[in-house]
Amino acid sequence: MKKIKKILIANRGEIAVRIQRSAKEMGIETVAIFSDPDRTAPHVLYCDQSFPLNGVTSAETYLDIQKILEIAKKARVDAIHPGYGFLSEKEQFASAVNDAGLIFIGPKPETIGLLGSKTSARELLAKHKIPIVPGTTSPIKNLGDALKVAQSIGFPILIKAAGGGGGKGMRRVDTESDLGNTIERARNEARKAFGDDRIYIEKFIANPKHIEIQVLADTHGNIIHLGERECSVQRRHQKVVEESPSPVMTEELRNKMGATAVMIAKAAGYVNAGTVEFLVDDRKNFYFLEVNTRVQVEHPVTEMVYGIDIVKEQIRIAQGEKLSLAQNDVRPNGHAIECRISAEETDNDFLPSTGKITHFFPSEGPGVRHDSGARVGTEITMHYDPMIAKLIVHGRDRKEAIEKMSRALDEYKINGVKTTIPFCQFVMMHEEFINGTYTINFVEKNFRLSSVPLPHDAVVAIASSYLKHSAGNGTASGTNGMVSKTSKWKSSAFYE
């Protein structure tokens, strides 16, 4: 067993900060890497050491294996934590880390290869007779190929990236005529996100819930699961709100899905933390979706309900320790919800919102956790993922958790970019979320541009502070002179 003393965190944003926290608590030194725009980002400020990647785009920085390994060597780390996204699910990266004599904090490279390609994962599952969603078991080659599959399983279908998750490269296709265009765009997105443009096709299941099981596996053959997370609130196939437990979960279903997840992990020779994703239909049949071979964005809800620090467990497993718990020691306690705070225009089809954060007052207080990768002064650019922070709450029960999240969302104050907070507020107040019946079609079915009128008092507040603001600034910039007809926003672009 080799004690890890120093970790390079091959990531940025909130997950780099979050990994640094656990490492520091364990007495482990941390090394940050940063692109040019990230020179003064929180992960650079917090880590013990920070080294430049000299570049701007992901490709020339956080995706550059060579640069990262050179820094790892220079800083004399003994392990690398990949976080999520970027290189976290690249078999080649895990191999290169091992070849450099360093510990990769994650599964073995071959496991990443096996499960990371969703087609080989589907083959493995089929071999073990675990139910999967109908579709291709190998990447599609061309449009003809795709058309044949689509016709055989019937529209609507889903196009998905074989090389990674997170909704990147995922597209729904309803008609044959859209197939060609959509495949092309999905390939482009997948290539940019994962450096891998292979895609595959799945039957689109009508009203499923997205429920996933967290597993932990050590190098001694022990595997446990930490219950489920429900992540059905998605826009653009990306999760926005997650919770644990799922409101539709029963003890029996949890045991069944948990056992299936553990069986899949065993079949794949899995080591470290991983997540097995399922679709669950309205009769509680569950279908395997994919395995995410890294820490998930939404892992905090599990941490808060089970009282376990998943990143610390990852590090302990990586240094050869046995799991500190058996399956019987693991008991859920209360209820947790996470909302992703992303720089997006909720009122404009979730388009990315860029800008500099001028004011930032995240929520605090009892039962509130905030994992952030941004702060006052942070410039949100078009180069990286729009997620700024995660707001997580824990309550004694689901009702208290929803009340707490509503309070925390109201309390959250940020200025300089638009965010998904209004959307999350909408979710917390929606009957389908409150009664727990929501599915992955929640957004499409329910979310409309807010038509809640501005209360009269708010109009008075804006008008009166406008007077003071423009007096204080001489004239308020960009607001004087003619009323232009050019700037009313529309759903996808603004017109003049």
Partner: protein, 164 residues
């Protein structure tokens, strides 16, 4: 300060800063305003507490209140006259230019100049933050001009195409 007209999102309000208090659409309000930091205000209206921020996006002033964002436009008598003139001019040419809603890279031009397009149809694709965003027209008509080409980087607000 004389009477001014503000457009706050869809609301049109006449405000006046009088000795006796703030008049909004002719009604007096007991308003207490304090600047908290630059661009940040605390407003008490008959006791009710509002916490408000200002931010300029794309050269337009916006107010951020309860995490909702509202555009603010000021409107003087001269503006009203000018607007009336522009409206008349506008009635003749109904061309609408669509602009980039965020900075990004144009990855694909889907429809070409002179084509007839319908409301909701995708005209081109802009990639930002790793997502491909299809930019749709909210107006049916003929594509008169496309201002960008594939692989071109655009800033927020840059013109993309004109529909007439």
């Amino acid at each position: 300060m004389s009477n001014i007209i503000l457009h706050i999102a869809d609301h049109r309000v006449a405000i006046e800063d009088r000795e006796e208090g703030l008049s909004v659409d002719g009604k007096l309000h007991d308003v207490n305003i304090h600047k908290v930091t630059e661009g940040e205000y605390s407003i008490l209206i008959e006791g009710k507490s509002y916490h408000l921020f200002f931010h300029t996006w794309n050269t337009c002033l916006h107010a951020v209140i309860d995490n909702r964002v509202f555009e603010i436009k000021r409107h003087s008598l001269r503006d009203q006259l000018a607007e009336r003139f522009l409206k008349t001019a506008d009635d003749h040419s109904k061309a609408v230019t669509f602009r980039a809603p965020m900075p990004g890279l144009v990855t694909k031009i889907i429809r070409q100049v002179d084509l007839q397009v319908h409301e909701g149809e995708g005209i081109l694709v802009v990639e930002a933050m790793k997502m491909e965003n299809e930019i749709k027209t909210s107006k049916s008509g003929i594509i008169k001009k496309i201002f960008v080409r594939e692989k071109q980087a655009v800033e927020k607000g840059d013109p993309l195409f004109t529909i007439e």
